[in-house]
Amino acid sequence: MQSKTTVVFMRSPEGDVKEVTVTDPNKDLVPLMVAGYCQVFVVEHTPANPAQEK
């Protein structure tokens, strides 16, 4: 059983994405999953050229 804390991103049925800290999946994830939330993977945007990005 997982005891360490991890962070996942969950999208609500309405489309909102929220960050969820998971310590106990049964408490932190299951109610959201039952309510129709699904996991999404967020890709951080890293500019190829920071100077150009500015």
């Binding site: 997982q2 969950m10 049925p13 049964n26 299951v30 039952v34 699904c38």
Partner: protein, 337 residues
């Protein structure tokens, strides 16, 4: 001529992009299967036998109808890998956490209101002497988990805890498969001595009263033939597997002694959680929680002369936590992803 023992099976554990499109990154296990049968393709052919006006009762024409490959059974000793596969593809909602092993898969039944009626699809490969002189080399696309079962019983050995998957196939296939079946996988198998089982507050393992447990799920798929679905070799295929009225099952047998509460709970309509655990070392575990379990039938009997009670459970729906939630930790990454 080929020997059945030459059969190679690869079970896909990556989610297909759609029922007909392969996964972005296909992934397979070489599958040793306790079910000693290849998955036979079955084509259905129509004819005009029943039509009158031909001047006789015999058929004169045949027509291509559809592929119906039936249900194929995958049967493995319980392991974190096959449990995550059966539960992930069989229930449908999967959240994976962890960036290094062990990975944690939290799995619940899909919510049709938000996720639709289709479960994730996966691939299946069977081969005998693949290559230039292949006897059999097929890649089945669009497989879905009709149902699964976990059986745990007293006794030693790998077969003391067994997972059964009932899988169905759209009919879409590729031959030759173009797949190289990977080297044998390491299955982190879980035997019944590792079982933990608490039902409505009673620890059945600690009291040494456990005899056997069968729990499972049937998605009762609706027929997937519809106008516009793809053809394979001119035969219709199933373009979707939609869940019907899903049926969970939970049955167990325990020794019955003074203080056993099963009959009392049956009469009182008591409900509570049923939590099933299996482990293989520290990193490969199952914790399955039936959120609201009732007893439908409690019947006295005997096993090997010992008085037992056989209970048919009634898994119920909890408004917040649903029917069933499973947490599988596994050293295997990317199952049902």
């Amino acid at each position: 001529m080929a020997n059945l023992n030459e059969l190679l099976i690869a079970l896909g554990y990556a989610v297909q992009a759609s029922i007909s499109a392969p996964p972005a990154t296909p992934a397979f296990w070489r599958l040793p299967n306790l079910n000693k049968k290849p998955w036979a393709q079955h084509v259905v052919i129509d004819d005009d036998r029943a039509e009158i006006g031909k001047s006789h009762e015999f058929e004169t024409q045949q027509y291509k109808s559809h592929y119906d490959n039936g249900v194929y059974t995958v049967e493995r000793p319980a392991s974190s890998e096959i449990l995550a596969h059966a539960l992930g593809f069989g229930l449908g909602a999967v959240v994976k956490t962890g960036s290094a092993a062990p990975y944690t898969y939290t799995i619940t039944p899909i919510n049709p209101a938000t996720s639709g009626l289709e479960l994730p699809y996966f691939q299946f490969v069977q081969q005998i002497r693949p290559g230039g002189s292949a006897v059999l080399d097929q890649l089945f696309n669009g497989c879905a988990m009709k149902g699964w079962k976990l059986s745990v019983k007293q006794g030693p050995g790998r077969l003391s805890a067994v997972v059964t998957e009932d899988i169905v196939h759209s009919g879409l296939y590729t031959t030759p498969s173009g797949i190289t079946v990977p080297a044998p996988a390491t299955w982190h198998e879980m035997q019944s001595p590792s079982l933990t089982l608490t039902i409505e507050g009673v620890d059945y393992v600690g009291s040494k009263n456990f005899v056997s447990l069968d729990m499972g799920w049937d998605n009762n798929f609706r027929p997937g033939f519809f106008p516009g679905a793809s053809l394979q070799d001119g035969f219709a295929t199933q373009g979707r597997f939609e869940i019907g009225d899903r049926t969970p099952t939970f049955n167990f047998v325990a020794r019955y002694a003074n203080g056993s509460l099963e009959l009392t709970k049956l009469l009182a309509l008591t409900t509570g959680t049923a939590v099933v655990g299996l482990t293989s070392g520290a990193n490969d575990t199952l914790a399955a929680t039936w959120q609201k379990m009732s007893f439908k039938v409690a019947q006295l009997g005997d096993v090997d002369g010992i008085i037992t009670v056989s209970v048919t459970g009634g898994p119920m729906y909890d408004n917040t936590l649903g029917v069933l939630s499973c947490v599988v930790t596994s050293t295997q990454n990317l199952i049902c992803q």
